[in-house]
Subunit: 927 residues, 2 copies
């Protein structure tokens, strides 16, 4: 264990790592190495591997220090050599940054420490060497502050409080009557450092560590610790990132953007992360350090002139004022800008994808600190892929693989109608940080984001702690921060509407109010946000379905070109059917007939049927239901003309239909002309201890065959009626909850006999199929038997999951959150199909079903049919189609295409490996 | 299809069939053939195979008649030749009987027609030929009556009515002032035949068929029809006989026991079917035909002198009276008796088992009409097997295989204590038709046998229609009928207590009363029956556990000698543990800790734990529970010293423990010092929609680890306390409801950490294991994973069945009866393990578990562990043990032995077949 390599160095255009080593070095570390290799100027440093994070969790700090000691010391030595400084020296100290870096970028999740290596002696060395004591002491107070926050846990005491160090700074600023932190003097910084350290001592009981090595080790361990904070775990759960991946730690020589007016620091995107437009853009600050730009403490300036002008319009800043106070980097440092622009082009070409970069200009020299694939909105994702395809940067398959299926969802969300916007009153304007439309009630704290059903989270600025609340709320509004602020970056990653840096609003956390120019809003007031324009409106605005054309249509067309499986929809109404058809559904995979029974006169007849005292009474009520249900089916079949429609026979327990309240029972008693006590008794007799496992599904149809007969009649007569009108209906009758062949066969017989009778009555026929849902574990286990009767299987993975796990979906609320948090479950199995367990049942049923009936039609109609990972699984096990809710049809189409491509890539890889192996064999033979 | 052999003839000591062809010919047909082959006198006839029954169900009457015509005609011709008569002749007619005969004997289930072939012309031919017109006309009226009942459906109109033909006879008897049916004259019989036929015409609208061939065909089809009557289906369900077996039809030349004083008919057993005593016994009647003896119309006489004397004592008949009115066959027809005795010995030797035979003496010549393996009580089953083993008739394995495990149950049922019997008042005395003790409330109709929880069914005589009611009631009492009456035979088959022929009681169906000499009982009155003495007592008598020694112990000893698996018990108390140990349990397979919580102070502490508002509150309540639970475990461990005890941690949903009534909630509020509303809220918050699939099992232990810690502590501390006293406890801690490895591992870690802590505290250790129940389908599917953590698996097949089928055990009442009746399910899967579906999960888990952990301990603790077919399955898949309730331990031991022997036989068979095949190959090669 101890002789494996744990530390990888980089610097001076050399590196031990490269981009393809992301799993070991984390994204940041791998890219820092790669930038060195392609000649981009990067401060030297080293990366501690992600494997050490796992070792840390297993073995603890002491053992890990021991394992790392030699390699880290050698790596520090190498950095010292390149920089010509010495770590721990008082005269010529090496300062470093310590940053986390997991395999996939987790913005704002992990903690960063800058300027590490400073203490009361070293700061003087820096002051002397740089000839800039203010810079030295500013760096020192920043270090103490950051180290205090991140490593020593100096968080605000309550959610209404601010950072304890900020509090000290604000007090001094007030005492001195300063306007901003730019007014602090060297002496002020000295006071601040003293006060900061005292605060640390008071809160933690320990002195602030002065030994640079101690500082370094503690910071490395703090990065590892931050992998397991609640918010990191939450982010991973949200993004389905395994906990065992771990994070790497990057230690890098400091370069300083805060060395004066010839220094700056910034972040930039090679294309627009919100819209996908092919425009280099970003923000920077003069004489500032790293986090300043993102944190939104000062108003950041734009990098390009064009961007700067656009910003001025949105921010209501005159051209004079812009040039004077907010010039672009292109204007302020034209040479550095040219250099930066060349590098961003080089990086995008090199990585063939939009890049999110960080840079620092130290005293006129440009350094790149990071490059990574940029987070983007769903719209940008689609546009960038299609543009790059057109530009010849990527091919069709790559364009498909570049899509995150879940993100397409954003494009399908409602937007404000033009009329609504025209009439709306704009209360404030901020930056269009993340597009979309959001309407909700105001809250000011992330942990209160679920206080109302729809909330807008308004914050002065957001921080990593707010992640969960940001995800729950419908939209995010910040008073401070730019297009690259935490709020903006995270919101775009979530595809969530965000307006950032709306400077005209004033938020008072203690009073829980927000003031715009014209109005004061209280918590709970309704507002609307337009993330595409940065506008904030009063009250609720109307929304409409978005148009799905252009680049989106192009991607969908490509998806269908490559996908092996096709996509159906789950729809119970003509309206839903049409919507799904527009989204590209190739039929209906599940029509739930029970939903139809809940409207008006239908529910009365349904209740009469259930409450009838005998067969005769049931049949009379069913006779009344028949024409109504037939009409329902006509509507759906017409909307889905020429495409197959799977209709599931009555499934839920009957007690769901009967009235449980006295009024409803009295009504039914009147309608049926019986005593209310009779109705009450019957309703009570329908009570079940575990209705999920009770008298439902085909158990209803087998105990009350008359229900199956009526429904079959409604379906087939509807299809024949349409045939007479020249409309082709393709009904597939689905028996629910089958557990044994005998159960299925008995239903099949009833259905087929009924159909034969109708055909004879009408002197006409219609193509049709009879099949079943596979949703009972026993059905999957005996699928070879059941396939003797069923012409198709549709996997009902909701119920299959319930029964395979023994989880009642309605009752997991108590333990599921604990299970996810403790890592007992990686995903909620009702969201992501459990391939290990439930998946075995699906695989088994596919194999057994095909063995008995090679041409059996196989699909899935559980909610997993619209979840990308589950769709991929369905492809792998060989289903013919997936079926999902209308709005998820495009997601499923894309996921199906990706699954096909992925499989082809894997196969090609295997073939290549085999060839190589064979070649080696041959080679050996020749020898 | 049409050229297969459907009819097998026998007669004149030749036969086309033999005993081993039971599946094809039915038991009766196969034995009739065999008796011919071994030289027993049997009237000639033929058998229509069971396969034709299946064809009949598929193809219908017409087609089957066509398929059979040629063969039946040829067979009839052969019988004519042997008998020297002609079917359909008016002068010298052949009369036949038509009887059903399935693979296994179904006493009284199928219908029989005697004297078929008679009509107004043929009866005169018989009268002339026999010179006995009374016999001829008696036979004719019997035929019309039987044929009317069985083939033409002339059943009583209501349950209070008697047979319509009996009614006609009774009316005539009364009109003529006759004492019994023996007084009828030839002319009376002529009148009866006319009136019978008129009644048939009136009820059915059709004339009685006069054509003998038509009579025959209709009778054959009626036998097939009777295979699917409700009562036949019920019997099959009860005895787990597949519906597809079908019944054969036996057509046989009539011989007549009603030809006068030199004729008789009877039934006999080669040993005592009630006690197993090696005594030839049976009953007969002079001048009577077939059904008379069994139907109990006349008081039957005993076959042996010894039997006759015993009977007289029980029936309170003086020796003079006995000799005069009820002489034994041994006295009445000594030569025939000798012949019969020789044949019964021959048959028992030939079949190596106790035989139930039917015979007829026609005018001095003895004919055997049937032999079959005799039904017997559990006690007789055990005694006969042990006796035959001692007699050298069978070997040890055969003695084991002769046991029906379920029947052992009878021997373990409580019996009346000697004290209770000494004090009881004997109200009436009948025949000890089937041993056992029964106490219940009187009912007079079989379909009311479930009117009270415990019922005694009292009937004048029973009939096949009463089967279901007989099974439900605790005991059966009849006023008429002997030891071979329907009631007696069926009750012995069911192992149900029965007193038959209690002549002193008078039952009035209309008034629903029963009169004994001293008292009139109404419906609902309590009485007690002693089936071993034939006594009827007033009121309820105390019962005690039976002694299990002697022959029973011998069989158990043999079982343990041959069984591969061992048997544990499910027990939650020291008392149950001791009982099971006495029954041979080798440990406890399941101790449910939750049952312990329901007593006294425990439930209060338990409720405090559940209702506590936080961890601290829970821990305080658990601290109070710890010593109580530890004491419980000490009791169980002590009772099971030196044997392993599997303790399952808390399993049921918490809401099962909390008070749902206001009073209980108020009490808890007081105890806990909180408002009752708080308690109410908490109780309501525990409500679940599907508690079976909710927050229970290890989901409790993983969300509230403190419960697992407390229970582990109680178990291990109890074991250590006993160790200090020199008692060896072997705890096996079982995690319930595991579905994933992570779930199991988390519990295992808690348990092992707790144990390590206790060992350190006490400075002492104890051997122990940590394993899990496999009861969630997903656990079976991923058993290879779970075995990484679990040292043993115990299959919880109750829950596994619930989840694999999606059946809530508490809610199957609505559809399960329908499913069993319609044949959708062959067995209730909660009674007999579903090998096809659930069994796959068990097999899979065994295989996967052993793959990961070759020495994993495997058992079953679901209720199937005491069900013989399921035990056999457990043996086959390779479990180490089964665990069942204490009273089923002997049944499981026996079933385990039978499974081992069966497997060895099957293996030997395969080996033999292989050898034969190889030999054939060799032979071929030589050629």
């Amino acid at each position: 264990m101890s002789d494996k390599k744990r530390v990888y160095t980089f610097g001076n255009k050399k590196a031990e790592g490269k981009t393809s080593m992301k799993n070991l070095l984390g994204g940041k570390g791998a890219n820092l190495a790669e930038m060195n290799l392609i000649g981009v100027p990067v401060p030297p440093g080293f990366t501690v591997t992600t494997e050490v994070c796992t070792e840390y969790n297993l073995l603890g700090e002491e053992k890990v220090r021991e394992l790392l000691k030699k390699e880290v010391e050698a790596a520090v030595k190498q950095v010292e050599t390149i920089m010509g400084t010495a770590f721990g020296s008082n005269e010529n100290p090496l300062l470093v940054s310590v940053r986390s870096g997991a395999r996939v970028s987790m913005p704002g999740m992990m903690d960063t420490v800058l300027n590490l290596g400073l203490n009361d002696a070293a700061v003087e060395g820096i002051a002397k060497k740089s000839g800039n004591p203010r810079f030295a002491w500013d760096s020192y107070r920043r270090f103490v502050q950051m180290y205090g926050d991140v490593v020593l846990g100096m968080s605000p005491e309550s959610k209404e409080d601010i950072d304890p160090f900020e509090e000290i700074m604000e007090a001094l600023q007030e005492e001195k009557g300063y306007k901003s932190d730019l007014d602090f003097t060297v002496d002020d910084f000295k006071v601040l450092v003293k006060q900061f350290k005292a605060a640390v001592k008071k809160r933690t009981g320990h002195s602030f560590p002065d030994d640079p090595w101690e500082q370094l080790w503690k910071a490395v361990m703090a990065v590892f610790d931050s992998w397991n904070t609640d918010r990191a775990v939450y982010y991973r759960t949200l993004n389905k990132i395994p906990g065992e991946w771990g994070t790497a730690v990057n230690v890098q020589a400091m370069v300083f953007g805060n060395m004066g007016q010839n220094s700056s620091t910034g972040v930039a995107f090679t294309r627009d992360a919100g819209t996908g437009e092919n425009l280099f853009n970003g923000e920077y600050l003069i004489d500032a350090q790293g986090e300043d730009v993102v944190a939104g403490v000062r108003t950041p300036q734009q990098i390009t002139l064009e961007g700067s002008k656009r910003w001025a319009v949105l921010a209501n800043v005159s051209e004079d004022e812009r040039v004077k106070s907010f010039p672009s980097l292109e204007e302020r440092m034209p040479e550095r800008y040219k250099e930066l622009n060349a590098i961003q082009e080089q990086l995008e070409q090199h990585y063939s994808d939009m890049q999110d970069i960080e840079f620092t200009v130290q005293d006129g020299k440009l350094w790149l600190l990071q490059t990574r694939t940029g987070k983007r909105t769903g719209a940008a994702m689609v546009k960038i892929a299609v543009d790059m395809l057109n530009e010849g940067m990527i091919d069709e398959k790559e364009a498909i693989m570049r899509q995150e299926p879940e993100k397409l969802d954003e494009l399908l969300h409602p937007v404000f109608s033009k009329e609504a916007i025209a009439q709306a009153e704009v209360q404030a304007k901020g930056l269009p940080a993340s597009p979309g439309a959001a309407t909700g009630q105001l809250v000011f704290f992330a942990d209160e984001a679920n206080k109302y059903e729809n909330t807008i989270l308004a914050r002065i600025e957001t921080s990593p702690e707010d992640l969960e609340g940001m995800n729950i709320s419908k939209g995010i509004l910040t008073a401070k921060g730019g297009m690259t602020s935490h709020a903006a970056v995270v919101a775009r990653g979530m595809g969530k509407c965000c307006v950032s840096g709306a400077g005209s609003i004033k938020i008072d956390y203690k009073a829980r109010t927000m003031m715009t120019d014209g109005k004061t809003y209280k918590e709970g007031d309704w507002i609307s946000l337009n993330g595409s324009t940065g506008e904030l409106y009063d009250g609720k605005l109307d929304t409409i379905d978005p148009e799905v054309g252009g680049d989106f249509a192009k991607i969908m067309e490509l998806a269908d070109k490559y996908a092996r499986m096709y996509v159906r929809t789950n729809a119970d109404t003509p309206h839903d059917s049409e919507a799904a058809r527009n989204f590209g559904a190739k039929g209906i995979g599940l029509t739930r007939t029970e939903h139809m029974f809940f409207e008006g006169e239908k529910i009365v007849a349904m209740r009469e049927m259930i409450l009838a005292k005998d067969l005769k009474g049931r049949e009379e009520a069913l006779d009344r239901l028949l024409p109504i249900q037939r009409k329902d089916f006509e509507g759906i079949f017409e909307a889905m003309h020429d495409l197959p429609v799977t209709v599931r026979l009555l499934d839920p327990p009957l007690h769901e239909f009967v009235p449980h309240d006295e009024k409803g029972q009295a009504e039914m008693a009147k309608v049926m002309g019986v005593d209310v006590a009779v109705i009450k008794d019957k309703v009570e007799s329908l009570h079940e201890f575990n209705p999920m496992l009770g008298h439902r599904g085909c158990r209803l149809g087998n105990t009350y065959p008359e229900i199956t007969i009526m429904q079959t009649r409604a379906i087939i007569e509807a299809a024949l009626n349409l045939k007479a009108k020249g409309v082709v209906a393709k009904p597939e009758i689905m028996i629910p909850l089958t557990g044994t062949l005998a159960e299925m066969k008995m239903q099949e017989d009833i259905v087929r006999e009924t159909i034969a009778k109708i055909f004879e009555e009408k002197g006409n026929t219609i193509d049709h199929m009879v099949g079943t849902m596979i949703e009972i574990p026993r059905a999957a286990l005996t699928a070879d038997e059941i396939a003797k009767s069923a012409e198709f299987f549709s996997f009902g993975t909701n119920d299959l999951t319930q029964m395979a796990f023994g989880y009642s979906r309605d009752d997991t609320g108590v333990f599921m959150p604990v299970y996810l948090k403790k890592g007992i479950l990686k995903n909620d199995p009702f969201e992501v199909l459990d391939q290990e367990g439930v998946g075995q049942l699906v695989k088994m049923a596919v194999k057994k079903g095909r063995k008995t009936r090679p041409n059996i039609k196989l699909g899935i109609c559980g909610e997993h049919g619209g979840e990308p990972k589950s769709v991929e699984f369905c492809h792998r096990v060989g289903l013919d189609y997936v079926s999902c809710s209308p709005y998820r049809v495009p997601i499923a189409r894309l996921a199906a295409a990706q699954a096909t491509i992925k499989e082809a890539i894997a196969k090609a890889g295997k073939k290549k490996a085999k060839k190589k192996k064979n070649k080696n064999k041959k080679g050996k033979k020749k020898k």
